[in-house]
C-alpha cells in the first residue's frame, strides 16, 4: 500500500505476538478498515464490492449444487430436475446460481462502463484495468461452461456452436476443438471436462480478484473528478465504516433486484429450449447464447465475407475465421484501451465530447446485443457489420482522435475544491440531479 503507512496497532498481547509472526490482521486492517477512499465516490463505484459478493454467492451455491449434480450426459438433465424438485431448497440454490450468473454480468458491465466513463484505466491504473479484463474473460469462459451443464437443447447446441469457432483457426483449429470436446462432437467427455473446468475457473477468478484488489490498493481509487487525491486528511475517508456502509446500501439494493428475478422471474433471463433435454439429432430453430454474450455473438456473425488478396481468388481470411477474429478482438481491444485513449483528462465529466461518444458507445453495445438475438438473415448481418465497425472505430479512431481535438473543461484544483464549489452551488440553487450525479452524493 503506497496510500499510507500502516497505522495498525495490535491491542492485546496475543495480537502483538501474532503480528510479529503472521501480520494477517494488520493486512486486513490496512486493506479494509484504514484504507483511505476518496470521499466523493458515487453509487457507480459500489459495483466492485457487489461483484465480490456475487462471486462468493456463486461459489457457495455452486458447491452445494455440485453435491447433487451428476456430470454425465445420460443423467445431467435428470439430476438438475432432481435438484429442482426433491433436494431441500435445491430450487433456491439453482435459481440463485443461474440468475446469479446473469446478475454477475449486469454488475460487471456496469463496473466496466463506469471505468470507461471515469477513465479509471489511465496511468497509473493500467495493470488494475488489465487484471479486470482477465477476470471478465475468465467469467465468460466460466459462464459458458456452466450453461452447458444442465444438458438442455441450448446447452448442447451452444457448446456445439462455440467450440466450432476453434475450427476456424488455420492448421491447428481441428486439434484444439477435439481437445476441448474430448472427441469429435459434443458428448459425455465434453460435459465432464466442462464440469471440471467450471469448478476450477471460479477459484482462478478469485485469485485474479485478489490481484485486482491489491493493484487497486496500491494506486488508490479514482473518483468522479478524475483528479488524484492530494490531501489525504481532507479528501479521503477510512474504508470502514464510510465506504463499507455505502457499499452495503448499494449491495442490498442490488440484492433486491437479484431477489426480484430469483423469486418472481427465474426463467426470464434463460431460454425455454433449455428445458428440453439435449438431442444431437434435433437442431433448435435459433441457437442463441445467453443475453450477456449477445453483443459478441453479433460481432461474430457480422463478418459474412471472405477477405482475399485484391484481384485474385486467394482467400486470406474466410468469413468464419474473420468472425472469430473480430469477436476475440472485440474483447482483446480492452487490454490496450489505456493506450488508445490519448486524453490526459480522466473523467468524462470534464470531457464534453468524450461524454457524448461514451453514451453512443453504450447505445451501440446494446444495439449489438439486440442484433445478436436476431436471426442472421435479412438486414441484420448488415446492421451488425455497421455496429461492429463503429465498435472498433470507437477504440481505434474516436478515442485517439478525441485526445487531440477535445478541449476539456477546466479541472478542479483538487477533490476538496470540487466538493466545496459543488456544495456551494447546491446551497444556492435547487439541487439538480445531474449535478448530484457528477460529483456523487456526499451526504
Amino acid at each position: 500500500m503506497s496510500a499510507g503507512h500502516s497505522i495498525y496497532t495490535p491491542k492485546s498481547g496475543f495480537m502483538k505476538w501474532l503480528d510479529n509472526r503472521l501480520p494477517l490482521p494488520r493486512l486486513i486492517y490496512d486493506s479494509f478498515v484504514a484504507y483511505p477512499v476518496p470521499r466523493n465516490l458515487n453509487g457507480w463505484y459500489t459495483f466492485g464490492g457487489i461483484l465480490s459478493l456475487m462471486l462468493v454467492s456463486q461459489i457457495i451455491t455452486g458447491i452445494v449444487l455440485a453435491m447433487h449434480y451428476v456430470a454425465n450426459s445420460g443423467m445431467a438433465f435428470d439430476s438438475v430436475e432432481h435438484i429442482m424438485r426433491d433436494v431441500n431448497f435445491g430450487w433456491l440454490m439453482r435459481r440463485m446460481h443461474a440468475v446469479g450468473a446473469s446478475m454477475f454480468f449486469v454488475a460487471v458491465y456496469i463496473h466496466i462502463f463506469r471505468g470507461m466513463y471515469y477513465g479509471s484505466y489511465k496511468n497509473p491504473r493500467e495493470v488494475l484495468w488489465i487484471l479486470g479484463v482477465i477476470i471478465f474473460l475468465l467469467m465468460m469462459a466460466t459462464a459458458f461452461m456452466g450453461y452447458v451443464l444442465p444438458w438442455g437443447q441450448m446447452s448442447f447446441w451452444g457448446a456445439t456452436v462455440i467450440t466450432g469457432f476453434f475450427t476456424a483457426i488455420p492448421w491447428i483449429g481441428d486439434s484444439i476443438q477435439q481437445l476441448l470436446l474430448g472427441g469429435f462432437a459434443v458428448e459425455n467427455p465434453t460435459l465432464n471436462r466442462f464440469f471440471s473446468l467450471h469448478y476450477l475457473l471460479p477459484f482462478m477468478i478469485a485469485g485474479v480478484v485478489v490481484l485486482h484488489v491489491w493493484a487497486l490498493h496500491v494506486t488508490g481509487q479514482t473518483n468522479p473528478t478524475g483528479v488524484e487525491v492530494k490531501d489525504m486528511r481532507k479528501e479521503t475517508v477510512p474504508f470502514s465504516p464510510y465506504a463499507t456502509l455505502k457499499d452495503a446500501v448499494a449491495l442490498v439494493l442490488f440484492f433486491i433486484l437479484f431477489a426480484w428475478f430469483i423469486f418472481f422471474l427465474p426463467d426470464y433471463l434463460g431460454h425455454p429450449d433449455n428445458y428440453i433435454p439435449a438431442d444431437p439429432l434435433k437442431t433448435p430453430t435459433h441457437i442463441v447464447p445467453e443475453w450477456y454474450f449477445l453483443p459478441f455473438y453479433a460481432i461474430l456473425r457480422a463478418i459474412t465475407f471472405n477477405i482475399s488478396i485484391p484481384f485474385t481468388e486467394i482467400v486470406l481470411i474466410d468469413s468464419k475465421l474473420g468472425g472469430v477474429i473480430a469477436m476475440f478482438a472485440s474483447i482483446a481491444v480492452l487490454f490496450i484501451l489505456p493506450w488508445l485513449d490519448t486524453s490526459k483528462v480522466r473523467s468524462a465529466n470534464y470531457r464534453p465530447l468524450y461524454r457524448q461518444f461514451f453514451w453512443i458507445f453504450v447505445a451501440v453495445c446494446i444495439f449489438l446485443g439486440w442484433l445478436g438475438s436476431r436471426p442472421a438473415e435479412g438486414i441484420y448481418p448488415t446492421l451488425s457489420l455497421i455496429a461492429t465497425i463503429y465498435y472498433f472505430a470507437h477504440f481505434f479512431v474516436i478515442l485517439p482522435w478525441l485526445g487531440w481535438v477535445e478541449k476539456p473543461k477546466p479541472l478542479p484544483a483538487s477533490i476538496a475544491d470540487a466538493v466545496l464549489t459543488e456544495s456551494k452551488r447546491m446551497a444556492v440553487s435547487n439541487p439538480n440531479p445531474a449535478v448530484l450525479h457528477q460529483t456523487g452524493t456526499q451526504s
Binding site: 435428470d78 424438485r85 442490498v252 433486491i256 426470464y268 444495439f367 435479412g378 446492421l383
Partner: protein, 282 residues
Amino acid sequence: MKLKTILSGMTVALMLGAGAHAAEEGAPSYPLEQPRHADWSFAGIFGHWDIQQLQRGLQVYQEVCAACHSLKYVAFRNLEALGYSQDQVKNFAAGFSVADGPNDEGEMFERPGRTSDYFPSPFANEQAAAYANNGAAPPDLSLMAKARAPERGFPTFIFDIFTLYAENGPDYIYSLLTGYQDSPAGVEVPEGAHYNPYFVAGPALAMAPPLSDGVVTYEDGAPETVDQYAKDVSAFLMWAAEPHLVERKSMGFKVMVFLILFAGLLYLTKKQVWAGLKEKEA
C-alpha cells in the same frame, strides 16, 4: 450537441429501418399468433395454486393426455401437493402397473404402482412412441409449461419485468389446446397435420385436437368445455413443471420485505455515520 443529435438520429433511423425491413420481408415467424392470456391463480407476487383446478387438470391429463404423453419427472408422492391424502395417493398409484425387477429368478415383472414410483410412460420406449404416432414421438409433458415460451418481442419484454408476466408457458399450452381451426386460404397444411396459429414451430402440428366438450366428466361442477379443460390442464402442467412455484413466491415476498427494510435501515445508518464526518470538520 449537434453531433449528438446527428448520431442519435442515425441510430433511430437504423432501428426503424430494421423494424420496417423485418416486417415487410422474410418467411412468416412462428407462432403465427401470440398466446392468449388466461387468468392464472399462480400469477403475480401472491400467486397460489387453485387446488380444485389442479385436481381437474390431473384428471384431464390422466383421461386424455396420458394416452400419448408421459409425465416422467412427476412421482405419485408429489400428488399430495394437490390436496390428496396419503391413502388417496396410495390408491391412485396402485391403479398403475409398473415394470420392476429383475426378481430372484432373474425375471422382470409387473407390479401395482407405489407412491415412490413416477408416472409410467404410455410407450415402452421412444421408438415405440414414434412408431405409433406417424414417426414423431409425443414429448414428455413434465416441463412443457416452461419449455415453450414464444418470444415476447421489444418492448413488451421490458414491461414484463415490472408486470411480472411469467405465465407465457401455460398461456401457450392453453392457446394451443383451444386454438385448432380451419386453415385460412393460402396456408398449406401437410397431410396428417392440423392447422393451429399458436403452434410454436410452424403453421400446423401433428397432434390432432385432443379435447372436445364433455370428454371429461368433472365432479365439482366446473364447466365441461374445451376452454375449461385447456385451462385446467395448463395449470396442472405448470405445477408439474415447477412444483415449488408457490413456495418460491411466498418466500420471495418475505425476502423482499426484509431486503427493503434492511436497505432503509442501512441507508439511515450510513447517513448518520457520514453526517458525523461533517460535524467533525465543522
